[in-house]
Amino acid sequence: MAVIELKNVRKYYGALEVIKGVDIRVEDGEFAVFVGPSGCGKSTLLRMIAGLEGIDGGDFLLDGRRMNDIAPDKRGIAMVFQSYALYPHMSVAENIGFSLDLKKVPKATIRKEVEAIAEILQLTDYLDRRPAALSGGQRQRVAIGRAIIKKPAVILFDEPLSNLDASLRVQMRAELQRLHRDLKATVVYVTHDQVEAMTMADRIVVLKGGEVAQADAPIALYHRPDNAFVATFIGSPRMNLVPVTIARAADGKAEVTAARLGAIHIDDSAMPLPTGPAQLGVRPEHLRLAADADGDFDSEILVVERLGVETYLTIGSLDQPIMVRVEGDIAMRPGDRARFSIDRQSCHFFDMAGRALPRA
C-alpha cells in the first residue's frame, strides 16, 4: 500500500519560491506522471518526495503518515536518477546489491536476489561487467534493478529515458509499463515529454512554474483542459489558439468571430458563453478541408508537411499561424488556397487570462 499525498507543499531556494503550494494525490499502485516544461519544478518535487530536498511548507503523507522529517532510506521509496548514477567502480551485480550489502544481508542471499532481479531485467549475462561496459539501455535497466531490489512501495523516476535514442525510448516505455504491472508499486515518473506522459500514465499532473496546472487522466486532459497552458501542452501538434470575439446570435447560439476565420455559430445552450473577447482553442485534428460549397473559411496555405499517413498544413498568417492535420497524403503546394471547416463539438474557449470557459 502506498498512497502519496502532497498537501500545500512549498519549496524555497533562498528568497525564490520554486514550489508554490502544490496539492497532489497519487493512489496506490498508480502510474503518475509529472510533466511540464524545463524548470517548472518537477525534479524538485520528486526530490522532496524522495527526501533529498527538505520540505519548506506543507506536508507529504505516505499512507497517511507524515514523511517530512523521515530519512530518505526509511521512507520505503526508491529512485532512478536521470544520470542513472551507477557506481563506476562496482560491477553490475554489486551495483544492484549495494543496498542489501549495506544492510549486512548475507552474501549468498544477495547473490540470489540480484540474480532474480537480473532475470526480470535481462541482465543475467552482464552481472560481472562494469557500468562503463554497458549500453545506455542496459545501464538504465541496472538503475531500475538497483531500485526494485529494495522492494519499495514507491518508485520515483526522473526523466529516465531522456538519455536514450528514440527507438530505444519507445521500447523502454513498454518495458517500464510491464514492470509496473508486475511490481504493483506506486510510480511517480517525471518527464518533460508529453507523449511519454500520455502513453504511460494512469494520471498526469501538469506542472507550470511550481504550481499544478491540472491533474487528471491523460485522455481527460486532452478533452477537457482546464486552461490554455494544459490545452497547448498536451497533444501534438499543439492546439491552435485564436483570439476571437464572442457575441450573442440567438438564445443558445453564440457568434464567434475571428479576424481570418470569419464568423461561426456555436451551440451554447447547455452553458451560455460570456460575450466579449476570448480565445478559441481548436486542435489541428479538428480542422478539416471542406468542399467549396460548405466550410467556414478560406485561407492561403503557407507550409505543407507531407508525412504520407497524414499531412500538416500551416494556414492563416505567419504572425498567427494555424495548424491543420489532414488524414492521408494531400498533394497541395504553398500558395494554394483552400476552404476549411471547424469541428464545432471540439472547440475550446478560454478567457483572456487563459482559464477555460465552462461548456456544460
Binding site: 524522495a50 527526501g51 521509496i77 529512485m79 536518477f81 544520470s83 563506476p88 549495494f98 562503463a132
Partner: protein, 304 residues
Amino acid sequence: MAPHHAHNPSKRRGADLSAYATLSVISIFCAIPFFWVLLASIDGNASLFLQWPRELTIDNYVRIFMQEDGTRWVLNSLFVVGTATLIVMVLAGLGGYALSRTRAWWKRPFLYTILLIRVLPTTALIVPLYKVLLTANNWLGGVLRAIFGNGPAREILKYVGFIDGYLGLILVLATMQLPLALWIMKTFFDTVPRDYEEAALMDGATMLQRIRRVLIPLALPGLGAAGLFAFISAWGDFLLPLILLSSPDLQTLPLGLFRAFLRVNTIDYGFLAALAFVYLLPAVIAFGFARRFLVQTFSGGVKG
C-alpha cells in the same frame, strides 16, 4: 587525418619521420642526465664526464648502505615525505570535497589566497617560519621536560619536535603541498555528480559508508594525482630539511647527498652518482604511477 595526406603518403611519411626525429632528440636530451648518473654510479672510476665504464661495480651502492648512513637517510626521507603526503591526501580529500559542494561567496577568494602559499618562495618565508616553529618547539619542550624529565623529553622531541624533529618537518612539508592538492581535489569533485552520493543515501548508506564505499573509490584518481604531486614535490625539497633538521639521526636523503658533496677534499663522483640515483628513483617511480591518475584526473573525471 586531413584528407590531403591520404593522397600523398610519401610526404606524410616524411613529416612523421621528422616529428619522430625531433622527439627523439628531445628525449635523449632529457634522458642523458639520468643515464649519466646511472653509468657513473656503477663505474669503478667515474669522472665528471660521460664515459662508458671500463669496470662495472656496485661498490658505491654497498658503501651507501653498509658504511654510510644511507639506509637511515632513505627511511627518514620515506617516513617524512610519506607521512606528509598522507596528511595532504586526507586533508585535500576532505577539504576539496567541502569546497566543491558548498555554495559560499568566500570560496573563490579562499582558493586564490591559499595558492599564495605555493607562489611565495619558501626561502623568503623561512625566517618567520623558523621563528614560529622555534617558539612552539621551546614551549613544547618545556611542557615535555616538566612531565617526563630531561632525558626522555629529548627522545620524544625527536619525533614531535617542531625544530629538529620529524613532526615539524612533516607539518611544514604538508602545508606547502596542501594548496595545490586542494585545488586538484576541488576541481576533481566538481566533475563528480552529486547523484552518486544521493543514490547511496537512498540505498541507506550512512555518512561513513558513503565516504568509504562511494566517495573514496570515486575520488581515487584525483587523490592519486594530488598525492603523487605532493610526494614528488616534497621529495625534492631540500631547503626545509636543511633548515629544520640538525641531528644526524634525522638526516634525509637530500641532506646526505649535500653533505657528501661538501665532505671531502676530492670529490668521489661514483659515490655521489650512486646516491643521486637512489634519490632519483622514488620520484621517477612515483611519476610512472602518476601518469595513469593524471590522464584520468585531467581528462574529465569520473565516467560511469
